[in-house]
């Protein structure tokens, strides 16, 4: 399973490195979303600073739909999925590999949006470790959920609209917990951080486990 996961992970990132869809399409979208939110909130520094974490995570969540759509699209085209299924690739490995590749792309988006929040919105980082741990857990959760639902909606004709309609409501706990952790990371001390980190961790573990167990059946149904 892990060997297949690594092969899929490396292949997906290789395709992204070649096509640069994430770099030229998804990343600009995320930045534009951040800037648009900033304009909508107005020039008040304190309002922007307070909303920076939420703006970043909404941007990441929207971007995740695009990244997942692309990630599943390359499997759907030209009979790739059928060929690999017949070749005996481990579906759990496919899930882990694709989740990992989506997570790496989301992490890049988070770095850019985080830098934008610091540079443009006045967001301050006091506890970097909290920011990093929360980001890693939230990214894994977003990537796992997106990959599961991306496979589920893969055969649907209206998949482009179906995917965000299914994924975005489900990732609300990640958004809330991610925003709370980023807000807590911008001050020297904040209560209940451990609880929000637990939410992110549990979410990631549950959806990774669900994907490992169910991904093969989802692909067979599709």
């Amino acid at each position: 399973m892990l060997r297949d996961a690594w092969a899929v992970f490396a292949k997906d990132l290789r395709i992204e490195a070649k096509t640069r869809v994430g770099l030229w399409q998804v990343l600009p979208f995320a930045v534009i979303a951040l800037v648009t939110f900033a304009f909508a909130l107005g020039p008040g520094k304190s309002a922007l600073s307070a909303a920076a974490a939420g703006m970043c995570w909404v941007g990441v969540a929207f971007s995740s739909v695009l990244v997942v759509g692309r990630s599943q699209g390359i499997e759907r085209e030209h009979g790739v999925r059928t060929a690999q299924r017949l070749a005996g690739i481990d579906p759990a490995g496919v899930f882990l590999g694709k989740t990992g590749a989506v997570a790496v792309q989301l992490a890049v988006i988070e770095v850019v949006l985080g830098a934008g929040a610091v540079g443009l919105l006045g967001y301050h980082v006091h506890r970097l470790w909290l920011l990093l741990v929360a980001s890693v857990l939230a990214t894994i959760g977003l990537a796992a959920v997106g990959t599961i639902y991306g496979a589920l909606t893969g055969a649907a004709r209206a998949r482009e609209t179906l995917l965000p309609m299914l994924v975005l409501p489900i990732v609300i706990p990640v958004l809330i917990a991610g925003v709370r952790c980023w807000q807590a990371a911008s001050v020297s001390s904040a209560p209940r951080v451990g609880e929000w980190l637990s939410v992110l961790g549990a979410f990631a573990v549950i959806y990774i486990a669900a994907g490992v167990v169910l991904y093969g059946q989802i692909e067979e149904v599709q």
Partner: protein, 230 residues
């Protein structure tokens, strides 16, 4: 393995009815192919040739009928055929944004095969040099077909299901497909392919089946003088 049976026939199915989205695409097919043989399936468009191949690959659900494919029940193949059947359809089964070489390297990792074998296979299908490193999307239809064939050669499954493998290929490409099928059958693998060229198909096949309306209507010997020749 679920429903596993033993037989000298690689494929032996009786009265198979298969549904695709509720529509019957096979209407009671009787079909068999000995191990190590080459079988050509002829028929007009919509006769059920592709559906037969997909059913034998375990990709289309069987509503009724009995029999086995590589010892696995045709009615309940579940995952019993995974890794043992290869299907060359109208799609290439390759990533468009990768080159044939990169596609084969990826497949090698999945199969735990020697990566050097991928290079040998690429040379076998004539995709050497720049052709091997050009992305699939930039290749011609014939070259894409060769890349798809390369995947199948690398996999070397027990049962080869080829849907119009000669389509889009020039004379050299057609000869390549014929020699690859001959080679596979010579190594004990079973080949079933569809064609719209009765004369050409009969020359390379041990048996020729004709389909119409989702059933096999005629079965005769081909001209190949393999171990299964009469």
């Amino acid at each position: 393995m679920p429903g596993r049976l033993e037989s000298v026939e690689a494929v032996d199915v009786v009265q198979v009815v298969a549904l695709d989205g509720g529509f019957p695409v096979l209407a009671g097919v009787d079909f068999s192919a000995p191990r190590g043989s080459i079988t050509a399936v002829l028929g007009s468009n919509g006769a059920g040739k592709t559906s037969l191949l997909r059913t034998l690959a375990g990709l289309t659900s069987v509503a009724s009928g009995t029999g086995q494919v590589l010892g696995v029940s045709v009615a309940r193949p579940e995952r019993g055929l995974v890794g043992r059947v290869g299907l060359l359809g109208h799609d290439t089964g390759c990533y468009e944004d990768l080159s044939p070489a990169a596609n084969l390297r990826f497949l090698s990792r999945i199969l735990r095969a020697d990566p050097r074998r991928a290079d040998a296979v690429l040379a076998r299908v004539g995709l050497t040099g720049r052709l091997g490193t050009t992305t699939m999307a930039e290749l011609s239809a014939g070259q894409r077909r060769r890349a798809a064939l390369a995947q199948l050669i690398l996999r070397a499954p027990e049962l080869w299901l080829l849907d119009e493998p000669h389509a889009s290929l020039d004379g050299d490409g057609r000869a390549l497909v014929d020699s690859v099928m001959e080679e596979a059958a010579g190594q004990g693998m079973t080949v079933v392919f569809t064609s719209h060229d009765p004369g050409g198909a009969a020359r390379v096949a041990d048996q020729v089946c004709t389909m119409a309306g989702g059933v096999v209507t005629e079965r005769r010997d081909g001209e190949r003088r393999g171990p299964h020749a009469a």
